[in-house]
Amino acid sequence: MSEAVMQLKNVKKTIGRKEIIKGLDFDIHAGEVFGFLGPNGAGKTTTIRMMVGLIEMTEGDVVIKGHSISREFKQAVRHVGAIVENPEMYPFLSGWKNLVHYARMMPGITEERIHEVVRLVGLENRIKEKAGKYSLGMRQRLGIAQALLHNPSVLILDEPTNGLDPSGIREIRAYIRKLAEEEGVAVIVSSHILSEMEMMCDRIGVIKNGELISIQMVHEAQQSEDVEVVFTASPVDQSAAALKELTGKDVEAGEETLTVQMTKEAIPDVVSGLVQKGIRIYGVNIHRSTLEDKFLDLIGEGAIE
């Protein structure tokens, strides 16, 4: 596995007497898209604010490229680009001037680089307009642009697809993947839209009540794992018996469908077996256990204490 660009080490935050974040410990690597998933109030934004030094940690540390955010703020934060919560911009300045404003705050950002970033997020035609006239989607793009100005090693995006239309979401998703894969940027994305996360992340950390309860790999090889397969076949009774015989597993029979837990590899053999027995097959579907199911399993009911 590649270099850990950002490390969270036993990060805790206590406000008053309440422990909001209860000791987070994980690494984020160069070239991966890490999803930060959790219900509202779980502590996603608080954690992101601690990652960029807006909030002090009560205990623990965040280390970015070897520099502690609490003790070496300047060296650590120069590798980070971020949108925290909404992409808020100065409404009375043009998109361009908003970018110039942030460019001036970091050494070595040329005008050419600003042009480049504007092209990347596709705002060339509207960049001279006041940011106050932008739609949420355009502000989101401008927010991503300001985060990318200084070629950060870590990009933190809080709800990046919020307010974008479907084609915009697809573009941003492709762009995030490209940044990670081609530029080796570590991207941290927080979201509550699960299907969205599943499509762009390599790993997903699930946070609940200030605790990291699970880290899931998204694109795991599932060849040997049992999946839920739904057959639509007739006659149902005969099919159920045949399926049980062929797979050696319990079959759940519905009115027209039969559900069985089996490996993906075994499907072709089972289908030809059924055909030989003269069973008419109308459909075979793999009902993959989606992230949403996993998420709901993990989070359970009454997620917020």
Binding site: F73, H101, M105, M106
Partner: protein
């Protein structure tokens, strides 16, 4: 250092792109021109006739004799009704001058309160607005210390206040010169300080008075800046600062008998009281007031710094 200059440039860019900045400048310009026209049209404001010509000493002498006989007598030049001043002018050969551009500049010193108001609005807004807009989160995640960002904002507010003050002075002088005329920069100004009459060059004296008003304005602006840095709320900072600016002198009159009244900020903010007229509390001295102001000033800045740099930037 170039880095700091870039930050100040950013702050000025934001200031100049906000409509309110320009509206305030226009209001100030309109008030100066308005006052000029009012003074021009209604002679009551410009103090009527002035004894001039070669025999002005004789005229003032006669007027003094009239007043000696009957203090309520109706005299030819009502604005020269002070016998001591008249005598001082006669003794020192200082002929009265007609109302001109310099007098207009002096009269407009009152508008420095308005500049103060605008500076308070700018000083409160420059910090608190970033919190209101939510942009503070993007501002503080750059490789720049919070202290440096705070300082760049403070320097911007002070230079803005100074620019407005210079604008008031220069624009008043130009308007005054255009409407009432101006006879060079070397006119002599006669004024009273602690009961004694003195004279000085009007140009340097008017600069001194505007400069001292700028100090008062700086203190109030710094106060607004501090409240904004602590509470991160524009309205609170503006409201509290304006209230104290307005109520300041009443507070002093209310507490004037107290031993510690002279340590109250507002007893000391008006440094002009040491140069013309007499101090609000008799045993105040210029040195004492400057010391008190310096202490308040440092405390304001320290509190701004501590709260701005130490406090978490939590959810809006």
């Amino acid at each position: 250092m170039s880095n700091f200059f870039q930050l100040v440039k950013n702050e000025w860019m934001k200031l100049l792109h906000q409509k309110s900045t320009w509206i305030m400048t226009v209001i100030l310009a309109v008030l100066v021109i308005g006052a000029g026209i009012l003074f021009k049209v209604d002679a009551a404001f410009t103090n009527g006739d002035v004894p001039s010509g070669d025999n002005w000493k004789q005229e003032l002498q006669e007027q003094n004799e009239q007043l000696m006989a009957d203090p309520t007598a109706e005299v030819e030049y009502p604005n020269y009704g002070n016998m001591e001043e008249n005598q001082y002018r006669i003794d020192n050969d200082l002929a009265p001058t007609a109302y001109n551009g310099w007098d207009f500049v002096r009269d407009n010193l009152g508008l420095s309160a308005l500049v103060g108001l605008f500076a308070i609005i700018a000083g409160a807004g420059i910090v608190a607005n970033e919190f209101r807009w939510g942009t503070i989160k993007l501002l503080l995640i750059r490789p720049i210390t919070r202290l440096k960002i705070l300082l760049s904002k403070y320097v911007t507010v002070l230079t803005y206040a100074l620019a407005m003050m210079v604008f008031l002075y220069v624009f008043s002088l130009i308007t005054g010169a255009a409407l009432f005329g101006l006879e060079g920069f070397s006119e002599t100004y006669v004024y009273q300080q602690n009961g004694d009459y003195q004279n000085t060059g009007i140009f340097t004296f008017s600069l001194l008075k505007y400069g001292l008003s700028f100090i008062e304005l700086t203190i109030m602006t710094t106060f607004a800046f501090m409240i904004a840095a602590i509470f991160r709320n524009t309205s609170l900072a503006i409201g509290l600062s304006i209230f104290l600016m307005m109520a300041g002198s009443s507070i002093i009159f209310f507490l004037i008998e107290k031993e510690w009244a002279k340590f109250i900020l507002f007893a000391n903010t008006n440094l002009n009281q040491f140069f013309e007229g007499s101090p609000i509390i008799p045993d105040l001295t210029l040195g004492f007031s400057i010391t008190v102001l310096a202490v308040y000033y440092i405390v304001f800045l320290l509190l701004s710094w501590v709260f701005f740099t130490k406090r978490d930037v939590a959810g809006s």
